[in-house]
């Protein structure tokens, strides 16, 4: 089929602005950040060159090291629990349940809500003087204690609780779609062989969910790296800086403390970490495509 030359040019004309904007706003900006991270910029960018100085400063800061370690702990726990709970719910829902649609809607609704809202709600529920702790004590359980929000060793885990509450439904939905996409004949064959249900799941169905694991893993990793709202609203990084995360550190340095160079360096470290985490998932997804 012969393409009209004029239409071919129309298609190109449509795509040019997107290519230009994407090129500038994604790759151009990433390189620009990288450049700023190699300068001594403070309030305004100053394009001198100081080598790796900002990175050395960054990794000499106790606050950054705490935030970075928190990212790893939070990331592993948040992704692990979201995947685990999501998989469990998907398997239970897959057992020919009445009212499945309603239950699915309930499990997924937190996804529609902003982390700012989630954080505001959970900050009250977890508030030691008025929330869960006080309520349980009021009911007569005098020794009940749940003060993670004000405990520097545990405040990070409140982010995990609120985050999993918000995101487990997404994992559930992806796993359920995965389970529904598996050929029923495979299960039937295993049934005939007399395999118990748990074995069918553990050895046949769950391994077949690899693509769903990859997709959920990518989406949850993006959530982890981007999670800024939740930590700002729920713990404010505190008590002290005990539950700080790199994204909050970055915004504070770059936009509140006039440390553009340091902020840019932290952004580049976040980017490098993200690439390292996401590559295996993308690779798993690609393999399937072939």
């Amino acid at each position: 089929m012969r393409l009209h030359r004029r239409d071919h040019w129309a298609a190109l004309l449509v795509l040019v602005p997107t290519v230009a904007v994407a090129g500038l706003f994604l790759f151009g900006f990433a390189l620009w950040s990288g450049w700023i991270s190699l300068t001594s910029s403070t309030l305004l960018p100053r394009y001198d060159f100081v080598g790796w100085l900002q990175y050395q400063r960054l990794f000499a800061m106790a606050r950054w090291l705490t935030a970075y370690r928190n990212l790893l702990v939070f990331g592993v726990l948040f992704i692990g629990f979201s995947l685990g709970l999501g998989l469990l719910l998907a398997i239970l829902l897959d057992r020919k349940i009445r009212g499945e649609g309603i239950l699915r809607t309930i499990y997924l609704y937190p996804m529609a809500v902003s982390f700012v809202v989630t954080g505001t709600a959970w900050r009250w529920i977890l508030d030691p003087s008025l929330g869960l702790q006080e309520t349980a004590r009021g009911l007569g359980w005098a020794s009940f204690s749940f003060d993670w929000l004000s405990d520097p060793d545990r405040s990070l885990y409140t982010l995990v609780i609120a985050g999993v509450w918000q995101s487990a439904g997404l994992a559930m939905a992806l796993f359920l779609a995965g389970l529904r996409g598996i050929d029923g004949e495979i299960v039937k064959a295993a049934r005939i062989d007399g395999a118990p249900v748990w074995k069918i799941y553990a050895f046949i169905l769950i391994p077949l969910l690899k693509p769903a694991f990859a997709t959920a893993g990518i989406l949850l990793s993006v959530t982890v790296i981007r999670s800024f709202d939740l930590v700002v609203v729920l713990t404010g990084g505190g008590p002290g800086f005990s539950s700080d995360l790199p994204s909050r550190f970055m915004v504070e340095m770059a936009f509140r403390r006039d440390q553009l160079g340091l902020g840019a360096a932290s952004a580049m470290v976040i980017l490098a970490t993200f690439i390292a985490v996401i590559t295996p998932f993308l690779y798993a997804g690609r393999q399937r495509a072939r």
Binding site: A11, L15, G23, P110, G263
Partner: protein, 279 residues
């Protein structure tokens, strides 16, 4: 027996997901004395909309005691144009990419995936400098521009994946009738795209309405979206915390996306999974 345990587990989980909504909802209807008396799960004894009225019209957002209403409007003024533009651009991009222009499309596809996943911290400083140069820093138009720039990769991917499933002969027939690039799009492709337009709009609306990072970094005290205002309202450290007002404010900020979700649950789910599955 196992069926009973199965339903018990599912209902228990449903309860865990619903309790925060219940707690927030009831708290927003309680007078402050009832909140102070404790009892997270108790129903309001003397239900009142006073906390809602205060959150809407007179609670302090930072130094301005004007309530959320202006910021709620800001969010609409931000979300509606940003959603409309990014979805429209995504649709015609996806069409051009799958049906007309093939050279370099693999490369563009890779770039779009990067655009969907990129950690935003890496673009914040240059984006702020660029908005300042354009004179848009601190304005709603600047925020719309940012949301469009980072929304178009997502919508383009959605429509690209969708148009790959539209058979080419439909388009070829239109071409034989003499329809050009735009005529074929508006008369043939667009009418087929209604489901995807809905999915992309819902996904973009939810994402843009719920954004906090861009709102915090790129807007000023007057032009902030409702998520930023909610944080300023609920995060105030001075004075006694009015939890009932905070919870009402949280619900006000959440209401538009919650309504969209409960009205269009299945489309919402499709949006969440459609973009990712092809990544």
């Amino acid at each position: 027996m196992t069926r009973v345990a199965l339903y018990a587990a599912l209902l228990g989980a449903a309860l865990l997901f619903l309790i925060p909504l219940y707690v927030v909802g009831t708290a927003s209807l309680k007078p402050l004395e009832e909140i102070r008396a404790g009892g997270l799960f108790s129903l309001p004894v003397a239900p009142t909309f006073a906390a809602w009225a205060k959150a809407w019209g007179s609670a302090c957002v930072g130094a301005n005691c004007v309530g959320l209403k202006g910021y709620f409007l800001n969010s609409w003024l931000m979300a509606l144009p940003a959603v409309a533009i990014s979805v429209a651009v995504g649709a015609i991009n996806g069409y051009a990419l799958t049906k007309w222009w093939f050279r370099g499309s693999e490369f563009l596809f890779g770039a779009l995936v990067v655009g969907c996943l990129i950690p935003f911290q890496v673009i914040l400083i240059p984006a702020a400098r660029t908005l300042a140069t354009l004179g848009l820093f601190g304005s709603l138009s600047g925020l719309v521009l940012i949301h469009v720039a980072y929304g178009v990769p997502v919508t383009t991917l959605l429509f690209r994946n969708f148009y790959l499933t539209v058979p080419d002969p439909i388009l070829q027939a239109a071409r034989l009738d003499g329809a050009g690039f735009f005529a074929a799009f508006f008369h043939v492709i667009l009418p087929l795209s209604l489901p995807m337009l809905a999915v992309a709009s819902i996904l973009q609306f939810t994402g843009i309405w719920n954004d906090f990072l861009f709102g915090v970094v790129f807007t000023g005290p007057e032009s902030a979206p409702v998520t930023v205002a909610l944080n300023n309202l609920a995060g105030a450290t001075l004075g006694a915390k009015e939890w009932n007002v905070n919870m009402a404010a949280a619900l006000i900020a959440a209401l538009p996306t919650l309504v969209v979700y409960f009205v269009s649950g299945r489309w919402f789910l499709r949006g969440l999974t459609a973009g990712a599955i092809k990544a």
